[in-house]
Amino acid sequence: MIPEIGHFSLIVATGLSFLLAIYPLIGAKINHAGMMNSAKPLAIVQFMFMMISFSILAYSFATDDFSIAYVASNSNSLLPIQYKISAVWGGHEGSLLLWALTLGGWTAAVAVFSRGIPVDALARVLAVMGMIAIGFNLFILLTSNPFDRTLPFLPLDGNDLNPLLQDVGLIFHPPMLYMGYVGFSVAFAFAIAALMTGRLDSTWARWSRPWTLVAWVFLTGGIVLGSWWAYYELGWGGWWFWDPVENSSFMPWLAGTALIHSLAVSEKRGVFKSWTVLLSISAFSLSLLGTFLVRSGVLVSVHAFASDPSRGLFILAFLVTVVGGSLLLYAFKGASIKSRGKYGLFSRESMLLVNNVLLIAALLVVLIGTLLPLVHKELGLGSISIGVPFFNNIFFYMVIPFAIALGVAPLMRWKNQDIKPLVSQLTIAAIASIAIGILMPAIFADKIKWVAVTGFTLGVWVIVTSCMEVYMRATHRHTLLKGLTKLGRSHWAMVLGHIGLAMVLIGISATQNYKIEKDLRMVPGDEVVFADYLFKLDGIADADGANYEGYEAVFTISKNGKFETEMRAEKRNYFVQRSMMTEAAIDWGVTRDLYIALGEQLEDNSWAVRIYYEPFIRFIWWGGLVMSIGGLFAVSDRRYRFVNKKIAAK
């Protein structure tokens, strides 16, 4: 009975999304206040019904209702409760419901937190979001209903959640990613609404920006979390594989990063408007493309959901309608968007354009790299694979101009910058960066690799120029300490965002070039030495759990004779799903991770063991975290500046 209520709530929400898509839009067209004002309550009620639907699905998982097919295939009575709840989005149908719920949430949020937006603009924005909701809700109802029953059969127990997903990563990673993907629909809706009216003043950018920033923060966090989860869960010490599903998250991120920078310029300087509109459309389009790639079976990936062509067809039709429609609208109505304002060749505007050009070029690399194998094969040219060696190589070359420009840009003034005083400052920064870049491997490692030095130099360059800029800004009119307190939050946002990226660059350079990996055959008592660490296998014993049986290997690690830590690596056999899992032992640190994965027992009763030394790998995720915090700073500044801007109207 209760699942049917969940199903029914979803139907009601879909009906409401139809109303939301049509009614306020007509109201905006004929300037009927009542119709336009209906958008806000419609959005809120739609969200409430989505909440009911989702809560009921979660309740069904929590109470082991195996009469629902989706619960039966993704859960089990022995599953710990937190995984029963996160199993709601562990499979295709439930994750789509989460997507739709997230969309309902963002729509309601835009409806509620939009003081100052004229009612006709708001009506259009919410109507567009309603249209998107129609697509997703119909997709769920028609092809991927999580409430389908298994009756007349009633399974005694469920299939269990895939053991890889029985982890805290599943609790946070998909919801954060979806908050990001769906959040870009807000910028999208604002862009479409603006194109519809042909009016795009800089206030549009001001409204769009905070929503986009929040979405970007979530997406950054979601990607970082996914990378970290893969690292500790999968047992191969890797954190990014350029897999199509990973790329599907990275592409909207690249577009989103370009977008938040472009929005800042459109808001402050009134330029780039047409380009910003195109980016707003692109970021969300890439989210939708990702949804298609992941669920259609068109590309091969370990992360892909089980697929079938009818689902793929629906998503593709939806994709063509939304993206094709918006790009057509952009083509025909884009002319009405005029940017006023001028800037010189050496100006912050130009540098931000450089930022956008390079980010979109990177996006093209990922997009073409992901789709080319498909196109190549369909053209009859044969199967090819495009993976880690290709992407790593190209990104290495692309990051060089990007990081250099990133260091220069904050030092540039808006509109026009006299380049001469900057040259000496930049030269000092460059020399310092190169020196430190070479010093770092000289101190921490035993060999100087020039690829690594390049990466370190670029990272240090960004940090040095950021510090220089902060110092110059702070001391412009005050003493250093007083000046620092006067710097606005959006300024700190920029600093944190850039330093976060520098940390990521340093982490990647260190780990890609100086990682040590050893596959060994060990019996209890064996020792191995590398990277100044002594790894001793003390013993291997049985270690069983609630839904698995396994082995645990205990290692003692010492450095230069002194005890460092003890590490325990496990191998588990989950009986319900019948899969073998490895629980790697990780001793994490600021300057290095030690990582041990236990393999199989070999014929001579020794064990296969893999040991990694990963220098500075934490910098990658901490850097991502710092970037996200920067984004949060930027959002929190907006309200403050919103008030001031009103007074200093152009």
Partner: protein
């Protein structure tokens, strides 16, 4: 049909037991070469895994054969060619450089060049037409009224 999909989703699952084979090498260069190869060679049967991370029996065979070739003294190109001869370009994660795949490098490259040209051209044009633009900066009457109304609304 649904049952097949359910079954498929279980089978498609991740049998991630760390595929750790232990091989002995004559020197560090050989070990490094083996690691490079097993990372850039693709398992022909898997859901996008390289040879190093795959448990499939074909991957095990390929690793064994690759190891044999490394010990024999073959270099990276020879070993990659050996596998491409049998499984095609699918089996190496580096795409071949052909007219068709050149778009991978040409498209972003062209985009960057085009982008820079537009940046330079826009900045020059804007500086040159300074006088024309100054007229545009004036708000029209209707816009001025809207602005006044917005300011008034927000002060409430």
């Amino acid at each position: 049909m649904k049952k097949i999909i359910l079954l498929l989703s279980v089978l498609v699952s991740f049998s991630i037991a760390a595929a750790i084979d232990v091989y002995k090498f004559d020197n560090e260069e050989q070990e490094a070469l083996f690691k490079t190869l097993t990372a850039e060679l693709r398992c022909p049967k898997c859901q996008n895994n390289n040879l190093a991370d795959s448990n499939a029996s074909i991957a095990k065979d390929m690793r064994q054969k690759t190891y044999n070739m490394v010990i024999e003294g073959k270099n990276e190109d020879q070993i990659v060619d050996y596998w491409v001869d049998r499984f095609g370009n699918f089996v190496i994660y580096k795409p071949p450089v052909t007219l068709a795949t050149s778009i991978l490098w040409v498209a972003p490259g062209l985009f960057v060049v085009l982008g820079f040209v537009i940046i330079v051209r826009n900045s020059r044009r804007k500086l040159r037409t300074r006088d024309e633009d100054e007229d545009e900066d004036e708000l029209t009457g209707a816009d001025k009224d809207r602005l006044a109304k917005i300011l008034k609304d927000s002060e409430k």
